[in-house]
Subunit: 295 residues, 2 copies
């Protein structure tokens, strides 16, 4: 546990420094647009997705330098999705990571544009990486686009999620929605790490299974946090799922049943790592870390 | 004039067929998201930006097949920007190309996501082109991202435009805003054509000058159409600039003065083509076509 926390701290500091260099400064015009991008990007995210890129890549013998810009790009896509999901016409959330959400602070128009430009900047960042071959960069861009678009990606998951709101939805359908909305980008982070580290087919398969379990674990624990924590601890409006009549794990399995499921999925995630030859301590630590948030 | 109109018709039919194959069908889930993307993409746009990619590339000896997916990608970015610009928090336009705008037809949340996914799909399309080398694809993605992002790109132009609304803005500032909001993507279309056709430095410079004049011409004629046409002819809400107190060419120069300026800029655009060895008839025809819309 200590090892993964130390790793996450280090990744956060490396990634934050890189993001700071990749996003236009607040004194460059249009100032409010760049301020809005930075507001959300530097709101205190734990950089879990970048950590997945780095931890997978490093477990397979890749170099951190080669992994960095893709890790930063995936965080930009994640942040763009948070900004747009918080908008009044979407989840209408006033609070994000303990601060006013982007549109509450800068207005809706600027928030929409800030999300748009973060997406643009993500693809630009990979395209302009100086260490990866053009061939690898092209594959990474294609991977990231598939994971964040539609069908089957993050945006289609958000669309399905909005459509499901207020309806009674079976558990398999919830899992399918979450797999797209949250899981696809986590899987892309893991695949990107494998790709950059030139993993074997066997490693690719093992890591892909790991990422799918980790993505599921994220959603289960997010659902749990929504019902067990207050808005202050959560940093965003708590109890929103229940008030939106949203289909969640706790509504289907209860709080204790959901905790049990989280532990089961965590163990499954760790077991998928068995075929890897390298040191996968950080990868299993990540699965433990995700569950530990809910204790 | 006949030649360029025939060319535009042919480009539209080729590009529409390609776009149809690149955008998920309406019966693929989430149906409403894909329907919204198609609603705006196939609303009857003239495909001027794709035509610029093709006309520049073909004038420099490039093959149409190699130019097609970049042309389609630029049209996706243009359409994403129209969808987001029409949103209530932005220009709040109910009408686009004679039909309800995307958010009026599908709701705001779906419209935001449709724009998001069109952007994603644009980069994916270039990344997955099977005819261009990885190296060229990377350069095209970087070019398109710079032209559509911020600072200096389409999104920053929209941000500056929103900030200028209701203010008295000098003509140079209007030009600067338009150069980013409209001009940057038109310049990128022309540069992409040059890049794919492997143009010389001299050709690159000439085409870049041409594109800057063409972009300016677009804005001047758009401003003119906003005051001289009704909503029905225009296909979008007419007189919006005046009612929004927006700084435009006609408010500074009057209608006749703006018509004169359009003709002057058209002639300048055509003159920039003098250094080109190939057949630039379609390129000069495009400049004439843009102005002819206002007669």
């Amino acid at each position: 546990m200590r090892a993964v926390e130390h790793y996450l701290d280090q990744v956060k500091s490396d990634i934050d420094a890189l993001l700071d260099s990749l996003i236009p400064a607040e004194d460059i015009e249009p100032q409010s647009l760049h301020a809005a991008m930075r507001w959300s990007l530097f709101a205190g995210g734990k950089r879990i997705r970048p950590a997945i890129v780095l931890a997978v890549g490093e477990a397979l013998g890749g170099s951190r330098a080669e992994l960095m810009s893709t890790a930063a790009a995936i965080e930009m896509v994640h942040t763009y999705s948070l900004i747009h999901d918080d908008l009044p016409s979407m989840d209408n959330d006033d609070l994000r990571r303990g601060k006013p959400s982007c549109h509450r602070q800068f207005g809706e128009a600027t928030a929409i544009l800030a999300g748009d430009v973060l997406q643009t900047q993500a693809f630009k960042t990979i395209a302009e990486d100086g260490l990866l071959t053009a061939d690898v960069r092209i594959k990474l861009i294609s991977l990231l686009a598939a994971a964040s678009g539609s069908p089957g990606g993050m945006a289609s998951g958000q669309q399905l999620d909005l459509a499901a709101e207020g309806n009674v939805v079976p558990l398999e359908e919830i899992e399918r929605i979450h797999q797209q909305k949250t899981g696809a980008l986590i899987s892309a982070a893991a695949s990107a790490g494998t790709m950059i580290a030139k993993g074997t087919d066997e490693e690719f398969t093992a890591i892909d299974k790991y990422a799918k379990k980790l993505g599921l674990l994220f959603q289960i624990t997010d659902d749990l946090l929504d019902v067990t924590q207050g808005s202050l601890e959560l940093g965003k409006t708590a109890g929103k799922d229940a008030s939106a009549n949203k289909a969640t794990y706790p509504t289907h399995l209860g709080i204790e049943g959901t905790r049990e499921l989280a532990k089961k999925v965590r163990d499954q995630a760790i077991n998928t790592l068995a075929p890897l030859k390298g040191d996968s301590e950080i990868l299993s630590g990540l699965a433990m870390f995700v569950v530990s948030r809910t204790n």
